[in-house]
Amino acid sequence: MKFSPLVQELINSLKCLPGVGAKSAQRMAFHLLERNRIGGAKLAGTLKVAMENIGHCSQCRNFTEDDSCEICQSAKRLINQQLCIVESPGDVIAIEQTGEFQGRYFILMGHLSPLDGIGPDDLGLDILEKQLATNQFKEIILATNPTVEGEATAHFIAELAKKYQVVISRIAHGVPVGGELEYVDGNTLSHALSGRKSYSF
């Protein structure tokens, strides 16, 4: 049996979502058509507006529909001369939720991965370098993921920032809270040991 052309097109379009194959797409399409037309129409409207209007913040490269995002516009964060460099917008949310960091962010939207063809030019490092050149930051915090590619990215940026007057720091990595040493892998554990801190009372 074949679906009518429009139904088939809806199913095919839904397959562009991550983790959605032919069967899930079909189920989603039927659900929207049969049970949730209003939700479906709303999704279509939002999707259209979002796709047309959302761009990257001119300063931190986060997704925003304005020229610069809320964090970059905040005067309080401007005073705090710290810049945290992360791989994805999700990382920003994670760090924001801790409430520990009051500075601004720079989002790479990925990490250096030569084998996937992602080089320095794809991470917006030219924008980053321009910002560093204005000397508005006292410290940059390299918060890329603790993977081999993340380390490579951190090192690359550190080399780039070396010639400017900034403190360069790397987030610590070690044993997770609530974790058990017994089950932590050797690499993490050796990082935790080599990066140990003197006990502060």
């Binding site: 084998l115 080089g119 320095p120 090192h155 892998d185």
Partner: protein, 228 residues
């Protein structure tokens, strides 16, 4: 079926579907192998920490087809810590292998050479020597040995190198084309002490490898040029 455990290095990985990862290994006995693995969601699962490049692994692969399933993975030793240009060089070695090696062809000597190269990179020895040694071995394993014999008998100062043809004397009067014969002789005799010889060796290797890649650029090279 009996379990077959072998040493391996991860060359490259990329996410696949929701919770899987597509891996490319260089194994001790089966050459380059692709495999998929599920990533556990539990906090106790440390597969992701294990499956990093430059870390000596013991793996067990399952499956009949070309794409294997990673049944078990354990660390063999502590992973090698590379940083800066040494790390970029490691990426370069990985990219060369991902791009040039065929799957499931056992390259006998390559695994040992790779392990040795990574170890030397972690000890921060001279990058040039390590890379040239590895490239040389890689080309040999691909069935491409450079024949230096034509350059010895004659008294010609410069040679061109053409893939499939080998060294051909430079006929034109221009001085700067081709490779310096003295340098080539030094390379043939593995006398790599001079900087100029190493430079010639690098250009020669680059020409041969670029030919093998059909002129498509290697991305890891970009990492070097930016900062140095």
């Amino acid at each position: 079926m009996e379990e077959f455990e072998q040493s391996a290095f991860l060359l490259h990985s990329r996410p696949y579907r929701e919770n899987q990862i597509l891996l490319e290994f260089l194994t001790a006995h089966q050459g380059k192998v692709s495999a998929i693995s599920y990533l556990g969601k539990s906090l106790k699962s440390n597969k992701k920490a294990l499956l990093q490049p430059f870390s000596p692994l013991k793996i067990v692969l399952k499956g009949q087809g070309n794409l294997k399933y990673l049944q078990r993975v354990e660390p063999e030793r502590k992973s090698y810590q590379l940083s800066g240009n040494y790390l970029y060089s490691g990426f370069y070695l990985n990219e060369l292998q991902v791009r040039l090696l065929g799957e499931h062809i056992p390259y006998d000597e390559l695994f040992g050479q790779y392990q040795q190269s990574i170890e030397q990179l972690s000890e921060q020895r001279s990058i040039e020597f390590i890379l040239r040694n590895f490239e040389n071995r890689l080309l040999e394993e691909l069935g491409l040995t450079i024949d230096y014999s034509p350059i010895f008998p004659e008294k010609i100062h410069r040679y061109h190198y053409f893939p499939e043809q080998g060294f051909v004397p430079v006929v034109s009067k221009q001085v700067q084309t081709g490779y310096n014969a003295v340098h080539l002789k030094a390379i043939a005799q593995e006398d790599l002490s001079s900087k100029d010889v190493m430079q010639t060796y690098k250009v020669l290797m680059r020409q041969i490898i670029n030919h093998l890649l059909d002129g498509k650029p290697l991305n890891s090279r970009k990492l070097f040029t930016k900062n140095s």
